[in-house]
């Protein structure tokens, strides 16, 4: 086993071991358990960052690809036999498409674990919460790292029940309903993924993504059937309008750390799967279905924005804004062009950072003011100027101001759609741009209602200070939002070559 292979296994094993350790720790060491869990999450982040060591196809170390090379070039790879009877191999790998997402996952999990030092949502039991967060991390990291289709499906499923438990135990008033809706919707998606995966695997005789990318050996009919199944599966997770209705409930009811993980990285499993699995494995199906995907994505942008304009609850508004933002990501993917997929990847990361930050802030506001109703939150600027300032920063980053992270994904998704040309895509580009304007409108409305305006009684009593743990959890996200905005090459530098290879393979 190579050093890189060990690194891949360790990235998954460390949080898994951490969760197991926390599970057997006695309940009275709750605080110690939370700190231990954070330690495991920190080690995971270090390991995840280190995966870039030895990367072969970044800008810094570019090597021209040979003609027969497959569509996926992992920097590090690991391939072990697990269940030959089900075509399941323990095959992991990391490349420029998955690496930024892996790091983002590890970072957000670390921040969420650290956040629980300071605040464990009711009914307590922070030990269990941190353990579940680590299990979710294993599932998400595994999904991004898996290079075997069946293993990908397996990790995709791992996330479901721990996340259900996080919502159902630590959530808000309607948590049972929201958690059940989340579980059933997501399972609906993942069972279709199961059928889609095995449609591909039984037809191609292998589950190796590096071999499958490009759709070699699959007939057009199989590719179309597989793409439809896979696209629906990922559309539920992403979520794509009209399969999104689990998201507002889950995000609103989940505890702060749950919302951050949900919005920050869980949704990315859907878009990542769409790029790597659905488009990669069934490109002909993708080409056939691209217009439909594009239309739905633009519908998501418009519908999400319009619903946001009418929202009166802070977390619900941010949740619906995810529908719109992920619409841009899906529009980028639907163009099947280099620009579009790069826009999707950077949009993914930016949304993870910014919406993660927004949910942290919304949680802080709700914890302080005990309400999320926009009407009762006026004048936040007057009592807690720093919180209001951060909220303003995050909202502006979210609406896509140039120079901040949100800009690149949305702008280039529109550009990519425009470049495809033809009446349909031109219309879609125009509508998406219009949706971008609507995004600005509802986020400015949010700021006007919350930070400005007359101070409401609920807000006036708040103390201005921010806790150190809060700053520690939010600081990295603020910095990342700025850094990615100023230097998108942080993400795209890794992604450009692998995406080129992917497009080459599916041509």
């Amino acid at each position: 086993m190579t050093l890189g292979g060990i690194g891949l296994v360790a990235t998954l094993a460390v949080p898994a071991v951490g969760a197991a350790v926390l599970a057997v720790l006695p309940g009275r060491f709750d605080r110690a358990a939370r700190i231990t869990g954070t330690g495991f999450a920190a080690v995971t982040l270090v390991l995840a960052v280190l995966l870039a060591v030895g990367a072969t196809d970044t800008w810094a170390a570019y090597q021209p690809q040979t003609a027969e090379s497959p569509g996926v070039h992992p920097w590090h790879e690991l391939d072990l036999t697990w269940v030959p009877g089900l075509d399941l191999r323990f095959q992991l790998g990391v490349d420029g498409v998955s690496y930024p997402l892996v790091v983002l996952t590890a970072l957000l999990t670390l921040l969420c674990c650290a956040y629980t030092w300071w605040r464990v949502p009711a009914p307590g039991r922070g030990r269990t919460l941190v353990a579940l967060l680590l299990v979710v991390e294993v599932g998400i990291l595994g999904t991004f790292l898996a290079l075997d289709l069946v293993l990908f499906f397996l990790f995709f499923e791992v996330v479901l029940l721990p996340m259900y438990a996080i919502i159902a135990i630590w959530g808000g008033e309607e948590r049972q309903h929201a958690a059940r809706k989340f579980a059933l919707y997501t399972l609906f998606g993942s069972v279709l993924l199961l059928v889609g995966v095995f449609t591909v695997v039984t037809a191609a005789g292998t589950a190796d993504l590096t071999e499958l990318t490009g759709g070699t050996g699959l007939s057009k009919g199989t590719q179309i059937a597989a793409f439809i199944l896979l696209a629906i599966a990922f559309a539920v997770k992403s979520p794509l309008w009209p399969l999104h209705s689990w998201l507002p409930d889950a995000h609103t009811q989940a505890p702060t750390v749950g919302s951050v993980i949900l919005a920050g990285v869980l949704l990315k499993m859907g878009t990542y799967g769409l790029i790597r699995v659905a488009v990669g494995v069934a490109p002909e199906g993708a080409r056939e279905a691209a217009p439909v995907l594009g239309i739905l994505a633009v519908a998501a942008i418009i519908v999400g924005s319009l619903v946001c304009l009418a929202q009166s609850e802070l977390k619900r508004l941010i949740a619906y804004s995810s529908v719109g933002h992920m619409g841009f990501v899906l529009l980028g993917i639907a163009t099947l062009s280099g620009t579009g997929i790069q826009a999707a990847l950077i949009g993914n990361i930016a949304h993870g950072v910014i919406t993660g930050l927004l949910f942290f802030l919304a949680g802080a506001v709700k914890d302080r003011a005990h309400t999320g109703a926009l009407a009762e939150l006026g004048g936040l600027r007057e009592s807690t100027p720093r919180l209001a300032g951060l909220l303003g920063f995050a909202a502006i980053a979210s609406l896509g101001l140039p120079g901040l992270a949100g800009f690149w994904g949305e702008a280039f998704a529109v550009v990519a759609a425009w470049r495809v040309g033809g009446p349909l895509w031109t219309t879609l580009a125009v509508l998406a741009a219009l949706g971008g304007a609507l995004t600005a409108a509802y986020l400015l409305r949010l700021l006007r209602r919350v930070t400005h305006g007359p101070a409401s009684p609920a807000v006036l009593t708040l103390t201005p200070g921010l806790h150190g743990a809060e700053l520690a959890a939010w600081g990295p996200l603020v910095l990342l939002a700025l850094a990615i905005g100023l230097a998108p090459t942080l993400v795209l530098g890794y992604a450009e070559v692998p995406i080129g290879a992917l497009l080459e393979a599916i041509r």
Binding site: P84, L86, E157, R180, L184, L194, V195, F198, T202, A225
Partner: protein
């Protein structure tokens, strides 16, 4: 003609039958519960061991008429025999509190269970329709009594009667089908039947005068009716819709360990019988669509009705009906797949067997947890009675949740997940994509009720609810001193939770351990299923 009998091949059957006889003798001569149970446990373990031993030595056959044999001791027979013995052992362990309570006579209970085990062991090796039906009846007949064995239990008597009537009708239907098949083909051997139908399917179109005239066998209405009757009669045994109505009432009225036996061993028997006739004997052109329809109905109805259940054992009963649908589904794909190649059949049968093995392990664990969480002689009770149970008893609760999640087919219940994966894969390999999608969607419906039970187990318990449990729990009045929930206790009647017998805990722990191991190494199951 003098027939030579291969006694080695029959060893597992001898051991199982010997166990039953020894149990009876031990009960008569020693008349102590411990001795009877010990003899039974040793006998069951020996049977399992013997089955493995004979299976490992290579395939054997006996009671042959020409090339066709009535008793085939091959790898699958060994697997089935071993499974039956182990399941019986598990159920015996779960029965420990029931036997100790004096609600059932231990000697009779153990004897009947051993008889049933004998039927199961023979069933796995049955090579003709008569042996098959006799073995199946030997498996089922003691269960009528076991279901109603508890003293003074009206529910038990009702359940036993329902089960008896339905089951006898089902057997009559199967026998009628077998008789008609004999009338059509002139044989009862499964291999001969398969050969006859295969020859019919490949028969050249009659052109000249030398080819036997008359309509092809497969087009005879009588053939179709005969095949359908055999399959449908066996569908009763696996509690497949529309022949499922007996199961919930019977499970709920029976003592919980007997319900566990019904839903694991007895269901396994039905599946084995169904596999035996569909895989080798009957034409897939007829059985395929029939079983596909039965599978779709079974999983859909089972899951949808389970959604509305409020009693624990009834919920498990409906869920096991739904699970039977997943088991039958791969067989339904047989005829749909183009051509009936030997490989396609093997894949489908192996998938059904693998799913069954995964299922019985998880189901035994689930019933084990129910037994461990309930007072000694209580029935399964309402689901609401389990509120907060996992908080009082974290390990049992965790095992229960693992079993339920496995039945739902999700991580961390990896065994159940791989079971679903196996079935979906075999369906897609058999070109039955629509059936795969239906199986997948049914899994979503299934999660809805499994997760409801799991959430109840971890729910906070309001103190007021607890007082009502004692009244609701036991159907049978508990003996004085039995550790049932006392009615006059203050706020928390079972604050010191009922300590389950060690045998129950051991069986639960073992079933859970097996579920975890095969969850991480499903290839073990896939390998034995493909034997």
């Amino acid at each position: 003609m003098i027939q030579t009998v291969d006694n080695v091949a029959l060893l597992p059957a001898y051991l199982a039958a010997g166990t039953a006889v020894l149990v009876l003798l031990a009960d008569l001569l020693v008349a102590r519960r411990g001795a009877t149970v010990a003899v039974f446990a040793a006998g069951a373990a020996a049977t399992a061991f013997g089955a493995v031993l004979v299976g490992a030595a290579g395939p054997r056959r006996t009671f042959c008429a020409g090339p066709d044999c009535s008793y085939l001791a091959n790898g699958r027979a060994a697997l089935v025999g071993c499974l039956f013995a182990l399941l019986t052992l598990g159920v015996l362990a779960l029965s420990a509190p029931l036997l100790r309570s004096g609600q059932v006579p231990p000697g009779e209970y153990c004897f009947l269970l051993a008889c049933s085990m004998t039927g199961g062991v023979v069933l796995g090796a049955a090579g003709d329709l008569i042996t098959l039906v006799v073995a199946l009846e030997t498996l089922t007949l003691p269960l009528y009594v076991l279901v109603g064995l508890r003293h003074r239990s009206v529910a038990g008597a009702e359940a036993a009667l329902t089960f008896f009537v339905v089951s006898v009708v089902a057997t009559a239907v199967t026998l009628l089908g077998a008789a008609l098949l004999y009338a059509v083909t002139g044989t009862v051997h499964l291999s001969r039947l398969g050969a006859v139908f295969a020859a019919e399917a490949n028969r050249p179109v009659p052109l000249g005068g030398d080819v036997p005239t008359g309509p092809p066998l497969l087009d005879l209405p009588l053939t179709v009716v005969a095949v359908a009757l055999v399959v449908l009669g066996l569908a009763f045994k696996v509690a497949a819709v529309p022949f499922h109505a007996w199961a919930p009432a019977t499970y709920d009225g029976a003592p919980v360990p007997v319900a566990a036996y019904l839903s694991t061993a007895s269901k396994l028997g039905g599946v084995v019988a169904l596999l035996a006739v569909t895989a080798t004997a009957l034409p897939a052109r007829v059985t395929g669509p029939l079983l596909a329809a039965v599978a779709v109905l079974t999983m859909t109805v089972g899951n949808l009705v389970a959604l509305r259940q409020r009693r624990m054992v009834r919920l498990l009963a409906w869920s096991s009906i739904a699970q039977a649908g997943y088991i039958v589904a791969p067989l339904g794909a047989l005829a749909l797949s183009s051509g009936r190649s030997a490989e396609a059949i093997d894949t489908a049968v192996a998938a059904a067997v693998a799913y069954t093995v995964f299922f019985v392990v998880l189901e035994l664990a689930a019933f084990g947890a129910v037994v461990a969480l309930r007072p000694a002689v209580a029935d399964g009770g309402e689901i609401a009675d389990y509120r907060g149970a996992a908080r009082r008893r974290p390990w049992v609760g965790a095992a229960f949740v693992l079993a339920l999640v496995g039945l739902a087919g999700l991580p961390p219940g990896l065994a159940g997940l791989f079971a679903k994966v196996t079935v979906v894969r075999s369906l897609l390999a058999g070109d039955a994509g629509w059936l795969a999608v239906l199986v997948a969607l049914n899994a979503v419906v299934g999660l809805a009720y499994y997760v409801r039970v799991a959430a109840t187990l971890y729910a906070a318990e309001p103190a007021a609810d607890r007082a009502g449990e004692a009244a609701a729990a036991p159907v049978v009045p508990a003996e004085p001193g039995a550790p049932a929930a006392p009615t006059d206790a203050p706020v928390l009647p079972d604050a010191g939770p009922i300590r389950p017998a060690w045998a129950v805990v051991a069986a639960l722990a073992l079933a859970t351990l097996v579920a975890i191991v095969v969850g991480f190494a499903p290839q073990l199951i896939l390998d034995v299923a493909a034997l």
